[in-house]
């Protein structure tokens, strides 16, 4: 019976780990069980190439060099193969388990699971199911996530349709991707926009259609020491000054607003309240939502912008 491929590969790893000298393909063919099954030279080399590439994909560091025999040989340097020493205290192991559970993502959950298996093999006990008081979760549900992650990891440029909100249009963009970044649960692509010739962020939720790769793997390199996160956090958020407002609120209504407000005058059918608006630009939207239950007394500009929204509903303007 032919020797199973997995068995041949384990034997190949053990053989190359145990040798100091580089072993040629011919030597390996003679030594490692399974290669003798190859009926021809060509079949053997095909088999051996496939095995080498599978080991490299797994991260096995195959070294090539000259040995005592004719031709290139192979070996695995133990110090490059082995995971470094690691010993985690129970609270550190709990942190690692929590980190592995952060992902609600097929791509990243699988990789985290692979990492935990290796840590366990190094003697660390990590209980993935241990209950934690706090569980942060990060999802990767955008369809563009898997191809972008793959392109980032392969170092390949990408082309995709991107919707701009205003003026509203979908444009084709070509980007050299440096990384995918999650900030407050939203995913962004950060990279060099070839059309603009500048660094740009793109929200994954605004991608339209498929992501395609351009050029060869390894062509894109991100700038050294780039802090991807600061890029996105910086673009999106600037602190806003809060602004006070005076409102009329109908009796026993609009509790969502009342819980942030102070009543300054009680009237028969409602109260006059004061409120500090933390997000003045979205306050009109929020207040208009309460309809006849809330009326803006001042500032004038807020009253006007609430009125415009309500008129917009009534007129149904297009």
């Amino acid at each position: 019976m032919a020797i199973a491929r997995a068995e041949r590969l384990v034997n190949l790893v053990l053989c190359l780990l145990s040798t100091r000298q580089f072993l040629t393909a011919e030597r390996i063919r003679a030594i490692v069980p399974g290669y003798a099954d190859a009926p021809t030279d060509e079949a053997f080399f095909r088999m051996f190439e496939r095995d080498k590439s599978e080991l490299r994909d797994l991260g096995v560091p195959l070294e090539t060099g000259r040995g005592p025999e004719e031709g290139d040989g192979y070996r695995i340097a133990r110090r490059d193969y082995e995971l470094g020493d690691i010993d985690l205290e129970p609270d550190e192991a709990a942190a690692v388990a929590l980190a592995a559970r952060l992902w609600d993502s097929p791509q990243l959950t699988g990789a985290a699971h692979g990492a935990l298996i290796k840590l366990r093999a190094a003697g660390v006990d990590v209980d993935e199911a241990a209950p934690a008081a706090v569980e942060p979760k990060v999802r990767t549900s955008e369809p563009a996530f898997p191809p972008l992650l793959a392109a980032v990891q392969a170092g390949q440029a990408v082309k995709f349709g991107y919707r701009r909100p205003s003026p509203a249009q979908t444009m084709e963009r070509t980007v050299e991707p440096w990384g995918v970044v999650a900030w407050r649960g939203r995913w962004y692509l950060v990279g060099h926009d070839r059309d603009r010739d500048a660094a740009r962020c793109f929200r994954l939720s605004r991608f339209v259609g498929d992501v395609t790769t351009l050029g060869k793997p390894g062509e894109v390199r991100s700038p050294d020491g780039i802090d991807l996160l600061s890029f996105v956090a910086r673009t999106e958020f600037a602190p806003q000054p809060s602004s006070p407002a005076r409102l009329w609120v109908a009796k026993d209504r609009a509790f969502g607003l009342r819980r942030h407000a102070t009543v300054v005058d009680q009237q028969d059918d409602g109260d006059v309240v004061e409120i500090d608006l933390k997000f003045p630009e979205s306050a009109a939207k929020w207040i208009a939502g309460f309809g006849p239950d809330v009326v803006v007394i001042e500032p004038e500009i807020l009253a006007k912008s609430v009125r415009e929204r309500l008129l917009g509903v009534v007129e149904g303007k297009r």
């Binding site: 706090v134 939502g289 309460f290 309809g291």
Partner: protein, 323 residues
């Protein structure tokens, strides 16, 4: 990933794993690798055939079974696991760094120590291409609520909370049995068994106005299951309503922010979406706030309701501000 692609990394990890745990029960080892005991036995039978050149009795990996336990007696030189791949290092280290940036929420001291140790152990395989900021946004009041809730979760105590339900625009007091604290999309949630609703509920921390720890243990019933967050916090449920909305460009964020199905780009910048919603009064508030940026195509009753509220609001403003 295909089964064979998972098997080889597992085979390479098994020997060092067992070496570190002499006499480990088969069931426990299988559970750690996420496989069945039957698959584990198949893996061990294969490893038994592997070893060093020569492949004589003294060269092959040697494992002994004693009852339901396993011990490695010869490892053939495979005594350490393979180092982490770049993808593995990335997923773990990026997650740890995200946790390290949430002081007060998790034990960041332990996270930092774990991070330093793992960074050192993985060597060259440093994370690249992925970054995560949980960016927990909370006001000072919410941070205080979170501290109290977190303490109750840790001590497994029941809580009385004053909660603002945005769906109903109501504030109510309820007793809950805390299960865990979740941080999703920059927001903190208490997951608890609600004794009023008789179900597992997620309470947004920034909508809890007051919290009192009760002198009784948190006791969710055994059938109270944690919410599966992998498909998002809000899942389609029976009894939800549907609306067909036409979004002007300025309102496109609605399609990104709320659960919508069937997004149709109309080509002129506008988008037609089918949106699910549980509570009509909540939907009316959203639509009033959006003003002319959205048009309700269906149901007609919703469109009428929103228009009536807007008209009433304009009348009231005219009346109040003129007197």
């Amino acid at each position: 990933m295909s089964a064979s692609n998972e098997r080889l990394p597992r085979l390479l990890a098994l020997v060092p794993y067992l070496l570190n745990r002499p006499g480990i029960p088969v069931d426990e080892a299988a559970a750690d690798f996420g496989i069945t005991p039957k698959q584990l036995r198949k893996d061990l039978e294969l490893l038994w055939m592997c070893g060093l050149p020569g492949y004589g009795p003294g060269d092959l990996i040697d494992l002994s079974f004693e009852g339901e336990t396993i011990t490695v007696s010869f490892d053939a030189g495979m005594n350490r696991p393979l180092r982490l791949t770049a993808a593995e290092a990335t997923s773990l280290l990026v997650a740890l760094r995200a946790l390290a940036d949430t002081p007060g929420v998790v034990d960041t001291d332990a996270v930092q120590r774990a991070l330093a140790k793992i960074e050192k152990a993985v060597g060259d395989a440093q994370p690249a291409g992925v970054a995560v900021g949980l960016g927990l946004r909370e006001r000072e009041e919410t941070a205080e609520i979170r501290d109290a809730v977190q303490e109750a979760v840790r001590r497994e105590r029941a809580l009385s909370i004053r909660y603002y339900s945005q769906a109903h625009d109501q504030i109510s007091d309820r007793v809950v049995d805390p299960m865990r604290l979740l941080i999703v999309e920059g927001r903190g949630y208490l997951e608890a068994w609600c004794r009023s609703a008789l179900g597992v509920r997620l309470f947004r921390l920034d909508r809890i106005d007051a919290v009192t720890e009760l002198d009784e243990p948190s006791a969710p019933p055994p059938h109270a299951q944690p919410t599966d967050t992998s498909e998002g916090l809000f899942q389609p449920e029976d009894g939800q309503h549907m609306a067909i909305l036409l979004l002007e460009p300025d309102a496109h964020w609605v399609a990104e922010y709320y659960p919508v199905d069937l997004v149709t780009e109309l080509g002129d910048g506008r988008t037609r979406v089918v949106m699910r919603y549980a509570d009509t009064s909540w939907m009316v508030r959203l639509l009033l706030g959006l003003g002319g940026e959205v048009h309700v195509e269906q149901p007609e009753s919703l469109a009428d309701h929103v228009r009536e509220r807007a008209e009433a609001a304009l009348r009231r403003a005219d009346h109040l501000l003129s007197t």
